[in-house]
Amino acid sequence: MIEVRGLRKQYQMGAVTVDALRGIDFSAGDGEFVAIMGPSGSGKSTFLHLLGGLDYATSGDITLNGQSMANLSDDDMAVLRRQKIGFIFQFFNLMPTLSASENVALPLLIDGQNVDDYQTRIADLLSKVGLGDRQHHKPDQLSGGQQQRVAIARALVTNPVIVLADEPTGNLDSNSSRDILSLLRTMADNEKQTIIMVTHDAHAASYADRILLLRDGLIVHEISGEKRTTQTIRAVMSELEAIE
């Protein structure tokens, strides 16, 4: 469960203060898949960074399963990230020196866990993402889609409160994109994993339960239920971009 209250973020660009987020309220429950969309400069990336504890908010608070992220030190934030948040990046960001299973185990190693205790979980996760037979392959021996699957398994290995995905299909072909999105959907449905995904792609967003549309640092629109079709999302996005 993640809750966001009055989230603001200001940047200083020379003498100019930029309001990247201007007071966002938001929450997502277990097993919910939320997509965040918006034109360039709308604040969606900043929002994701703050949700992931990669950056500090100017004001407001985020709570993860009741734990506030405000006032956490850099090290405490790192511990929070490793234990409660999973990340999936656009560029996969796997360690090229490590095998698929070792990449999945990385957050556990960072957390000082005995990896041997997690062998079954790692193998299960890789099987779930369809790479049961690729555990010992290095990233350069895997396709883009397969690398992103490893990244998903890595994001899930610590059983995080939320998984944040930044354009997870931005670097993939349409077939691989479809597979990855289906996988995320399955994780939300079957594993009750909360997933928050930033995307430009209306089709990708249509896999989510809710689509939040941001503009000028505010949530200006939300699409959910039956309306979350690719066409509707595209139409709303076009309207937002036209206003720009």
């Binding site: 960074h49 790192a78 656009q90 960001n93």
Partner: protein, 684 residues
Amino acid sequence: MMRSLNGLALRNMGTARVRTILSVIIVLVGVSMMIATDGFTESMRAAMPGADEGQNIGSFVLGTIDILMTVSSLVIMLAASFLIFNAFMMSVTQRRQQIGMLRSIGMTRNQILRLVVMEGLAVGIIGTVIGLIAGPLLSYGLGVILKNVGGGMFTIDTTLTIHPATMLVAAATGIIVTLLAVLIPAWNATGVSPLAALRPPQTGNIEHSPRRRAYIAIFIMLALMIFLLINPPGKWVESPQGIQLTLLFSGIWLVCMLTLLPVIVEVTADFARRILSKRWKMTGRIMADNLQRERQRVTLTILTMALSMTMIIAMTGFSQFFLFKLVLDVMEERSERTLYGVLPFNMNDGIGAFTSSELELPDGLLDELYSKTDGLAAVAPIRIAFIPELASMFPDMFSYVMSPQEIQATGDFLFTFVEGDWETATPMMESGCGILVSPAVASRLDVEIGDTITLDSPNGDVTCTLAGIGTTPGTASIMSVAGSEPFEPTPPIEVAITPYVGVDDATVEVILFEIRDDYPGIYVENIGNIVTVMQTMTGGMAGAMNGILVIAVLAAALGILNTTMMSVQERQHEMGLLRAIGATRNQVRNMVMGEAALMGLVGALVGLVAGAGMTIIFVVTYGGNSVGLTDMPLWSTAFEVLQPALITGIVGLIVAPIIAAIAAYFPARNILKGAAIASRKRSA
């Protein structure tokens, strides 16, 4: 399965194999040079068995070799630290996204710091361990090279003697230097934001250097040179202030050059852009522009090359001044009057002479010399003693032990007064322990003529009187025979024979040759030959040492190889783009090699200016006062000394860019293998 984060550090080393190997190589070269310095001088010392006097004579040569090799190893260690610093800085820059990802999935700053330091530590340990093994081998190899290159002048004992303390110091230096070099990159890595994981990798753009500091540096350098021109300290400074002032001015000169370096790089790049873009169009332009990207990395790489060149040029100038102008040329000037040396060794054997000889004159020889040359020539037996307080150039340098009459018998060859005269000196030297020393030694002992000084001897304290200050061959001090017994001087080890004025030299020579023929193992040389042999020996040694110093240039070339390799990797995308829009493989490769050659050229150029400046500063500031050469024409001496140094520098200017271009060839070739699309794919 990897079980700890240390494993990740080791895996990272495995990925950047070439960078790791280069870093290991340079650490091992530095460590092995430190060990070789000890082993090599020990080998030479061991080649002079049982003859303390031989070792004392040889200490002049050994001391010089020791200084040159120590400086070489220190410069190589410095080059190693630059290379490792550069390599890790580049590695951190290249892995920003990866480090960002590790941060985003929960790695703390401390864990990141440990990860990078672990990599550095592993490089340091591997390089040091191999260096500890390679050091003795290098020592042996250098011995063999010097033995052959030195034209038989050097005798090396093949039994290796390496002090455990040297091994410990070398090992500690290797690891500490590596760790220090890695510390800043590691600290930089901790500053990588987890957000870096979300951003695509970027390559550096052209950066400009601040000009103001450069103008100040130029002003200081000009002011220093004008000061040296108007009021050269060599005219008035006395030892030890001469050394302090020389070090101060050299330091100022080097700091100014260092400040100037980024601007020199920028100006060269601007200049090269104009020329190269005319010759090679866009390829030439990019080649020059790339010199201005990643300024810190390029500057450090050039600095490594510049330091090596500075050292070679300054050392050439230093040895020319120190060995020739202050010692051998003085002896040559004073050898105009015929003087014969009756020696128990063959001068032509060089240092080897001291290995096979007992350095003792056979019984009866001295008496025969006195009797047969009576009325024709003055006979001056030369004894030596080891008196640390009177040592001049090196701590274990010998002193002559002679009577004032024997010294005067050689004309002004053995001693020329700067202060005092024979009238006052003779009674002091006849009535007890009297000493004649160079101005540097007098200054160090803080005594004036007539002052007494207590010297340590194997048989207790001895009070001696300073009888005169002046110049002696090789700057060695002279003690009177009277009062010298407590210092246990050797029996005469050679005899100087000076024909009296009006006596035909040939008559004396015939007598000496007849005596020589009666005593196997005894040689007769006139002073001209002795000086020529010493000059050849010293020249050979300086040449061989220059050869050893080339190792430092090769270490710098490793730096260029490393920098080129990493910047080529970093710019794969760019190169792929160039290939995609029609650049041929040769064009791109030439661009990379040209860029490296430019780095080598600028490094050599900066090294030439820095080294030449240091040579001038050394000659004009230190001058000849310390050895009694008060009338030395400083600037003309500086230019004379500079000539061989400049020749070395010009050779460097030609060789350094070629070495750099060759070093760059391999990474350029590797990256450009295959079709144009492959370069782009590799960057994805």
